[in-house]
Every structure is written in C-alpha cells, then in structure tokens.
C-alpha cells in the first residue's frame, strides 16, 4: 500500500454468528431499541401458529412473504395408520381442529403446507433439512424451541413465541438483541458405541440446563467436523436444553455434500454460486467469542439421565448423585431412583425411538443393527416413529420396519409422537420410558411418566434387555441385506446376563 492510498480499515475477524447477524440486519440495535433482523425461512406447525394467524386476520394484515413460510403437521397428528375408510385416527377433536385450522390458514394465505398426504411430511426439524429448505447462512425461525436443529447447517436458527410468529408472518422480521457467543470446542475421538446424542447429553451434563442462557453456541473442533450431518443436527437440536438461544456448526464439505442431494437446495450454477457464499461463513481465525469451553470427546460414554431435566445426564454405568437441593431430591424421587445407586438393570416399560433429536435414518439404522434377529424383552413396549415420510420410505426400503416388527416393536407413521405425547401416544403413569427424544421433564411423555433420555443404541439395547442396558454389551451384528430379509429369529430375549 502506498502512502497516498486511503487505509482500508481491516474488518476485525468475525464469528459465524456475527456474519449471520450482520447479513440480516434490517435496522441496527441501539440502547433504546433492539435490532430488526430479517428472517429467510419461517417454519410453522399446527400447535403454535393458530393464534398468530388469528391476530393477523383481526388486524386485517396479510403475509409479507408467504413463500418464505412453510408449514407442516407433526405434533397433534396420530402415528397410527388411517382407518379402512381413510379417516385419520385423531386422539380427540381438538387435535383435528388444530390440523384443520392450519390447513385453512395456509390455503387462505398462500403458504405451502406439507400435509398428511404429502410425501415430504414429517417433523418440522426433520423435513427442513432433508428437503434442503435449511441452508447455510440463513436465518430460520419456528414457533418451536428445537429450531436450533437447523443450526447444524451454519444457519442462525432459533425458536420463537406465537406473538413473534405473527411478527414474522406480517413483516418477515423480528425484534432482536444480539446474543453473546459461546464456543464449545470438542476434541478427541468418540469411542465406539458412543453417539452424537451421548456427546450432547454429556455437554449439557457438564454445563447445566442454564449453561448456555443468553448465548448462541458454536460447536467446533475435530470431533464435530467428524460427525455426519445427522449427528450434527442431534447436537444442535439439544443446544436449547442447555438454555442457549441457538446452536450452530460451521458449514463444510460434509454440509455441502449433504445439500447437493436435497430436492429444494439450489441446483447447477445456483448451487455453485451458493457454495461460494457458504464457504465464507465459518468463523474467521482469531474471531473472539464471549466465552469458550473445551470438551474432551474421549470422556464421553453412553449417557442416561437420572432426573427430570436434561442436565441430569450421567454415564450409563454411573451412580445417581447425592441430591444438592430439594429439586434434585424431588427428581430422584419422581424417577423412583436412589442416590448412590446405579440405574443399569432398572426395569424398562416403554422404549421410544423417534423425535427431531433421533428420528432420522441413521438413528433407525442404529436401532435396526441391534434389533436384527432378536426379540424385545416381553415387558417392553417399543415404538419406532420415523421423523418424516422420507425417513419412513428409506427405512422400509432397507427392511428396517420388518426388523422392528419382527423384534416385537411397533412401526409407526411419522410425527412427534411420544416426544410430547399430544397425539395419543403416551407413557402411562409410573412407567419408565427410555426415549431418544430431548426432554425428560415431569409429565412430558404423559402424566406421571418417568423418562430417561438416551441414544438410539441405548434405547435398542435396553428394549432387548428389558432394563436399562449398555449398548456396548451388544455385539455388532451389522445385518446384511440377506440377514434383513431372513425369517425372524425366535427364542432370543436379548437378555444381557
């Protein structure tokens, strides 16, 4: 540079979050007012949207950008097949009314809806990514806290309330204060039999259910890079369980390869152009985070929760800790566990495989790997609920439905199902459920239901054993196509002993 040239102020290194924030700033924030942040993709479902549409209708407002909103039906929808006459077996009239209301609202406002007969239907956080609607560099919101899932693609994605759903419908914008940034760097190799679910449970166990409050978490490091997209989604999905505003992972070749095959992702020259932009997104070297944490992946073991929030994660062969306060004591009592005792061998009544955390094809493959040629313990009721119609088709093409059925499990239609127990699928009072979902709050899976959060492998191993079981105790059967097609093997209970 010569002296006569004006000095160009070098931009300080920015984080992925900074870049996304800057790129969507319609009006910058001041002390007196929050920023206006533009929303690229707005996902809606039947539970948190009706009151927002009603508000717009009352005020005579229309949608600013209907093509940026996509709807799905997932929470209230049954997972049982339709009746012989084609009718949908809703658990009650209110569920049907919610579904009908979203249909009316979508049709009236010109919003694309992935209805129950759509081949693209499914849980909102499963279909966004698999359709390629979810893309790096986007701002994505939904009236649903697990919107953090989409951050796995290098998007800024977070849950909003119903009033804000109305704000986005009407203005495509949200009022936002910029969050702080937390970098969680994970290094080391995950041991065999240890999954992304175990990793995120481990992280939440370490930092607590409020450890991320006020922050957007960027998950970084070699372990994260080594995760396939589905594992990354599992990690970001549960960022909210640490209280974080959002979770995100910088896009890389794994992300780009995944998107290249997605129906709604850009194609051809548009893909190349997008790729060039996406490659600029990762945090710059030297970018400053407000807080940084290191996690050693080598420490991660199959995880379970012993209490009534996800922060009560521990290693599966660990001991329930001595309660630190009355709430922890109540959690242990609610779960009918004892401080100082282990949970391995606790009799299990229900196993639920599904949800936006672990209802993807890789999760079902993992379950099938363990179930193939074995039988569930007779005590156990097992529900396997694909996260989407596409996951269901793929699983059926691979024979996974047959493996589940042959083992004695129930194979269902896609939806949220027992994760939130709004659709008639629920755990009965007092029953112990091992669930691949994300919340073990009191009553989450039904009044009085006792939930332990686990990985798909732990869920499957425990379904076979009839009790909380370590998946590492099961030999890898890795079924071949021939084995999948084979007759069910009778007489194996899969008991560990």
């Amino acid at each position: 540079m010569t002296d006569s040239m004006p000095a160009v102020a070098a931009q300080p290194p920015r984080t992925l979050f900074d870049k996304l924030w800057d790129a969507h700033l319609v009006v910058a924030e001041t002390t007196a007012a929050p920023a206006l942040l533009y929303v690229d993709l707005h996902l809606i479902h039947e539970v948190t949207s009706p009151q927002a549409f009603a508000e717009l209708a009352e005020r005579g407002l229309t949608l600013r950008c209907p093509e940026r909103t996509k709807g799905t039906l997932d929470h209230s929808t049954p997972t049982l097949p339709n009746a012989a006459d084609g009718s949908v077996p809703y658990p009650h009239a209110a569920a049907r009314a919610q579904v009908d209301r979203l249909r009316e609202n979508a049709a009236r406002c010109g919003v694309e809806l992935f209805d129950l007969d759509s081949p693209a239907r499914g849980i909102v956080h499963v279909i966004g990514p698999e359709l390629g609607l979810t893309q790096p560099g986007m701002t994505i919101v939904c009236g649903d806290s697990h919107t953090s899932t989409h951050g796995a693609f290098g998007a800024l994605a977070f849950g909003i309330g119903t009033s804000e759903v109305g704000h986005v419908l009407a203005t495509q914008c949200l009022l936002q204060r910029k969050a702080k940034t937390l970098a969680i760097t994970v290094a080391g190799e995950l041991a065999s039999g240890v999954s992304a679910k175990d990793l995120i449970l481990h992280i939440i166990g370490q930092i607590g259910v409020n450890g991320g409050t006020g922050y957007v978490i960027e998950f970084r490091g070699a372990t994260i890079r080594a995760l396939p997209m589905e594992g990354r989604m599992t990690v970001c999905n549960m960022a909210i369980e640490a209280g974080a505003r959002a979770g995100m992972i910088a896009p890389d070749q794994v992300t780009f390869d995944y998107l290249a095959g997605c129906p709604r992702a850009p194609k051809g020259a548009a893909f190349e152009a997008a790729l060039a932009r996406w490659k600029l997104l990762p945090s710059d070297p030297g970018a400053k985070f407000d807080r940084e944490l290191q996690i050693d992946a080598g420490q991660v073991r199959p995880a379970v929760t012993w209490g009534t929030h996800p922060g009560t994660a521990m290693v599966i062969d660990g001991l329930v800790p001595e309660p630190q306060d009355a709430a922890q004591q109540r959690g242990i009592d609610y779960m009918r566990f004892s401080a100082g005792a282990g949970v391995l061998g606790e009799p299990v009544d229900v196993v639920f495989v599904g949800s936006c955390t672990n209802g993807r094809i890789s999760d079902l493959r993992e379950v099938a790997r363990l179930l193939a040629g074995r039988k569930l313990h007779p005590r156990v009721r097992m529900l396997v609920v694909p996260g989407s119609a596409a996951v269901k088709r793929q699983a059926q093409a691979e024979g996974i439905d047959q493996i589940v059925r042959n083992a004695g499990g129930e194979w269902r239609e896609p939806g949220c199902s027992m994760c939130i127990a709004m659709n008639g699928d629920l755990v009965l009072p007092g029953q112990l459920a091992l669930s691949t979902s994300n919340r073990n709050f009191e009553g989450r899976q039904g009044p009085g239901a006792r939930t332990m959060l686990v990985s798909p492998a732990t869920a499957a191993a425990s379904a076979l054993a009839g009790c909380v079981a370590d998946p590492r105790a099961y030999p890898d059967t890795t079924p071949t196509a021939a084995a999948l097609a084979a007759e069910p093997v009778v007489g194996q209970t899969g008991a560990l002993a």
């Binding site: 790129a23 209110a94 560099g137 309330g161 009407a170 203005t171 204060r177 409020n210 306060d325």
Partner: protein, 193 residues
C-alpha cells in the same frame, strides 16, 4: 397490550429450580387454537392430584396465597419449550410478575409480550424473598426497582425498549410495521443469501 407500571402484592414462593414449561402448562393442554382461558391449566399437574382432586399441599392452593400476583421461584424459571401458552396461562391465572435468579430466554421474551413482568435478581435477594412470602413487594417498571417493606430497593435488569413497551403498552407488531420502508429497502438491496 395494556400498560404495566406498578405491581404490588405479597408473593407466592416456590423455591423449585428449573420449573419448565411442561410444569407451567402441560403439553396436552396445547391442543387449542385459542389463547384465552388457559389459566385453568396453569401448573395443572401440581394443582391437581392424579384423581383430579385439588392438591392442598401445592403453594398456589394454600388459602393465604389466593389473589397474590407475584411468583418468586427457584433458578431457571421457564426453561423448555417456546410455547407462549405458558405466559398466557400464568396471566390468565392471575400472575403479573415472576421473580427468579434466572429466567429462560424464550419464556422471558414471551412473558414481556403478554403483560407478565420477568424480574431477575441476585440469588441472595431471591433467597430472602423465598423466605418471606408475606412481605408486600412493589415492582416499579419506571424505576426498574423492587421495593421491600423495610424500604430497601433492588434494581432489576430491563431493556430500555421493553421498559417503554410495558409503560406505554407499545404493540411490537405495530412498531415493526412502522418500519416497513426499512424492510423493503433491505429486501431490495441485500446480497442473495
């Protein structure tokens, strides 16, 4: 939204930490397309026993607590889902403010839009409040202060914008709509994303 300037009440104290949105309103009551009348489901599974009878042990069922409009709760109140049904239920149930050492982000945001004042105070102060449910508390939005009966005052954090929204009853959607020109300008000039 109706303006909120001042809330004066004795408190209902519930020291439990991590009171999540499923405790505030269980998911099975979300099968509604309405936002009104959800107060009957507030803390439902705590207020009622399995057989449907009233649980006399639960704080909100104790006679001295009837009519109190401030809840003092343990840490990390409102964690869990983004359901705005949670503040809708609490407001309909008669609450006007929640005091805790920590309040989950989305819940806090939703509360502010519905006339429920989220008040975060240091743990030591909250502990003192938890021990004195009969104190008449005064929450003043204009000064962002909690006043105790003995005259002590504690300031609580409240974003300037949120404060104005509460005091003047500003409607956030109206505020956003008033900035349509800026939104249009952004849409026309942004780099493709």
């Amino acid at each position: 939204m109706k303006p909120i300037r001042r809330i004066v009440s004795a408190s209902v104290v519930w020291p439990r930490s991590n009171i999540d949105t499923d405790q505030i309103i269980p998911a099975r009551f979300l099968s509604t397309t309405e936002r009104n009348g959800l107060g009957r489901y507030a803390f439902h599974d705590w207020r009622y026993r399995d057989d449907g009878s009233v649980n006399p042990d639960f704080v909100f069922n104790q006679p001295q607590n009837v009519g109190r409009s401030i809840l003092v709760a343990g840490r990390n109140f409102g964690c869990g889902s983004s359901r705005e049904h949670a503040p809708w239920a609490l407001v309909d149930f008669g609450l006007r403010a929640v005091i805790s050492a920590e309040i989950a982000d989305i819940f806090r945001n939703n509360a502010l839009k519905n006339g429920l004042l989220p008040v975060v105070l240091p743990a030591a102060v909250v502990d003192e409040l938890l021990a004195h449910p009969d104190w008449s508390l005064e929450l003043d939005v204009a000064t962002r202060q909690l006043r105790l009966p003995d005259g002590r005052c504690y300031e609580f954090p409240l974003d300037e914008f949120q404060q104005v929204c509460l005091l003047d009853g500003v409607d956030e959607l109206g505020y956003l709509l008033a900035r349509t020109e800026a939104i249009q300008h952004f849409e026309e000039n942004r780099n493709a994303c």
